[in-house]
Structures are given as C-alpha cells and as structure tokens.
Symmetry: C2
Subunit: 243 residues, 2 copies
C-alpha cells in the first residue's frame, strides 16, 4: 500500500532525532514539510527530494503529501518536535478520509516540552500540562480557562507559542492568570532555540517571567508549588524520601 510517514524530527539537531524518524526519511521518496524544519534536517539527507511550503499553509502541505502518496510515492511529512503535539499528524488523519487509502505511520519525536525540560534540569518530573498560547485556531477564552484550571490544580506547565509579532503581550496575560493561583516566587524557566544554534535558557520567578519578552522560538516552563532550584537547575521533585 502507498505509504505516508508523519514524523517528528525532535527539536532540530540530529542528536535528538529517533532512529525511527531517520529510517522514515531514509525510506521515503520525497520529504515534505515547513521550509524552516526541512532546512534543519535536509543536510542529513543530501540526496532526498524535498517539497517545502511556508508556515501558514498547513492544509495545503498535508494535501500535497497525501496526493504524492496516492500517486505511489513513499512520503515523509516532517514536523518539528513530535508529529502529534501541535504537529501535522492530526490534520493528516483528518484529510486522509478524502483520499484513496494510504498507509499512515505516525512516528513520535521529542517535543519541546521534553527537550527543553532536559536543558533546565527536571521541571516536568511530576504531573504537567502543555498549553499553546496561540489563538490562531483556539479561542483565547479556551486558553484562559485551561491556564486557570492548570494553575488551580498545581500542575507544572509547558507553554508553547508564547508570543509572536501580533501577540507580544500573551505571555504577560497568561502569567496574570497563573498568578491568581501561583505565588510570585514560583520557579519558572525559558529555553530558546532548543537543540539549535544559539540555544539559551534562563531560570526566573513567575513575577520576572511576566515582565520578560520572549519570541516564538521559546518554550516556557512554569513550576508547581513543589518546583525548586537545586544546584542551578529547575527541579520538580517527585517526592522520594532521600534517605
């Protein structure tokens, strides 16, 4: 049967890519993806045919991948991080119903929450929630409600898409909601350009975070009431007795 991989490449460097993702790309006739992510992996597969599209063309990109697969090509649709976390796996599954049967294999990858957590220490060692602050596809009221409940339940949080040119104050708004339940001194972290050139990170308080400018390449971490700074790292202890 015609085959379409939807594969998460991890945060960007070859080191965080799984063997299964590498095999999927090696196996494919053509790699499809958002140009910025394709650029990250293309050097690893110099002979691979590539079709890339700009960022906001997700439906077009997925249709292109499905059409190629229907024509008999083995296709790897690549996503940054994990294919299933704000990635293209959902859209491919939705659209596939309109096409002739194609074997779809979703290949999991290391999403920014996990890769960024490893940079900071161990902020997500206990229960956590992942929320995107982008309201392009989700009403802001839904995002606000999720922030509110996640804070009330004392989850650790990983926030994706914390900012963009048109949403420069969204992180500040999110922090204000979290502050209703979390103290100003809550331990937070930032990782920018995870696994890419110029990676940087910082640990700061929730109060400081609310006054910090971030860009769309940053993943934000909010601690629970248990999260502490230990040896310069952001750590959420799971509760083991240390004797």
């Amino acid at each position: 049967m015609k085959k379409l991989y939807v594969a998460g490449i991890g945060p960007g460097d070859a080191r965080n890519m799984t063997a299964a993702c590498r095999e999927a790309i090696e196996d494919c006739d053509v790699m499809v993806g958002y140009s910025k992510y394709v650029e990250l992996v293309a050097p690893l597969f110099p002979d691979k045919r590539i079709l890339d599209t700009p960022m906001t063309r997700e439906v077009e990109r997925c249709r292109m991948a499905l059409e190629l697969a229907c024509r008999g090509e083995t296709v790897a649709m690549i996503c940054s991080g994990d294919a299933g976390v704000y990635g293209m796996a959902g859209l491919i599954c939705e659209l596939a119903a309109e096409y002739e049967p194609v074997e779809i294999e979703v290949v999991a990858g290391v999403t920014a929450a996990l890769a960024g957590a490893a940079v900071l220490g161990a902020p997500l060692t206990h229960d956590f929630a992942v929320i995107s602050l982008s309201d392009l596809l989700t009403p802001w009221e839904v995002i606000e409600r999720r922030l509110e409940h996640a804070a009330a339940a004392d989850f650790c949080l990983a926030l994706y898409n914390p900012s963009s040119r048109s949403r420069h104050d969204y992180l500040e708004k999110a922090c204000a909601i979290l502050r209703r339940h979390k103290p100003a001194q809550t331990v937070c972290g930032l990782v920018r350009n995870i696994g890419r050139a110029g990676q940087s990170d910082a640990i700061l308080t929730l109060e400081e975070l609310s006054q910090t400018s971030v860009d769309m390449f940053t993943t934000v971490f909010i601690g629970s009431s248990q999260t502490r700074i230990i040896g310069g790292r952001m750590v959420t202890p799971r509760g083991y007795r240390l004797d």
Copy 2:
C-alpha cells in the same frame, strides 16, 4: 569533570531511541538502571558493564550512579520513556547536591504519552495534561484534584500508572471523576506494551474505559470534547479549516 548521563531510552525498542541516548550509552563506562529497562537495551550494547536494581529502589539506584561518577567513571543512568517524566532526572538533581561536583547531562526521550499517541493516531494534537494515578508518592487527593481540573478545562489526558496489584480500581475511580465534566461517549484509548513485544491498543468510550481492566504497562488516553474517531484513529483536531 566526572560525567553522569540521565538518559531516556524511549518506550523500549531501539527505533524510538534518540541518537543522543545511544551516544550516551556508548560513551559510558557503566550503565545503571531498573532491571526491566536495562534488559530492553542491554542487547544493543553487549559489551557494556551493567548495574541494575529492582523497581522500588530508586534512591539507592541514583546514589549508586552518583557514587560511581564520583569515582571517575562515566555513568549512564537509563530510564524508560523520557528521563524527566516520572523518571530519575529529578532525583539525580536532588541527590547530586550531597556529592562532589559531577557533570550531569539529562538526555530527553520519547515518553509513553507521545509514543502511545502515535500508535492511536493523534489524540494529543491539542493542549493536554499528563497525570500519574500512582499514589505511592502523591496523596490521592492531589491526583483527584488534578483529574477534576483537567476535565473541567477540557484537556486531553494521558494517564500513567493506571493500575497495579494494590490499586486495581484506580482507573475506575479516575473515570468517575472525569465523568463529572466529560460525557460518557468521550473518545478514549489504551496502549499496552508500547514499542515492546506484544504491543496492543484499543479505542473505546469513557464509559467503556471505566469498566476495563488495565495493568501497569498500559498508558491511557482520554479525549477532549473535540476528539473523534477518524478512519479508525483517535484524533483531536487542532481546528484547521479543511478547504
């Protein structure tokens, strides 16, 4: 400086392991871990020295790894899934303060929420929460509060440790809490032995899930109000317009 890797091997098969994890194990003098996880990767590194401990000896295992590193050995402490999600990264960071300085590198991996989601389709394409139902280290009231808020905020959920010999009714109890906010027909999924021999999965309703027996090798997925079955897969659409 003395070096200690805390590396997530992914769900169990070599295919879901990252290159960075493989390099960490190749680089180490000795691999330390829970015997069940060590068994999964040991065949890939036949010449590697191994120290394994039983499941409930987490503090002992981490101390052993730190002591070996302090003696000058390069150590890889391996965890299943991601080292930072209910893994040993947090405990290593906590305990490291008691030892002489050791360079600690946390190596992220594909946690069961991501690997299981890929098996089912794309259940976690939108905001989600990860909750462990184990009350060995967390009071059940905290778990209950997190389930309640996660359901009220319409998160998708990945539930870890949904059962054990002494907690056979915990998933049923969790489902009863979720039912206060989520309809009986909410799309749910199960994946057992992800990436291991005998992997199996099922898609079912929340009502059916509450009457289903699971074991500790199962990861449970609860849909949001948007989650649907599309082409036999569990999918949470992100909200793209399909034209």
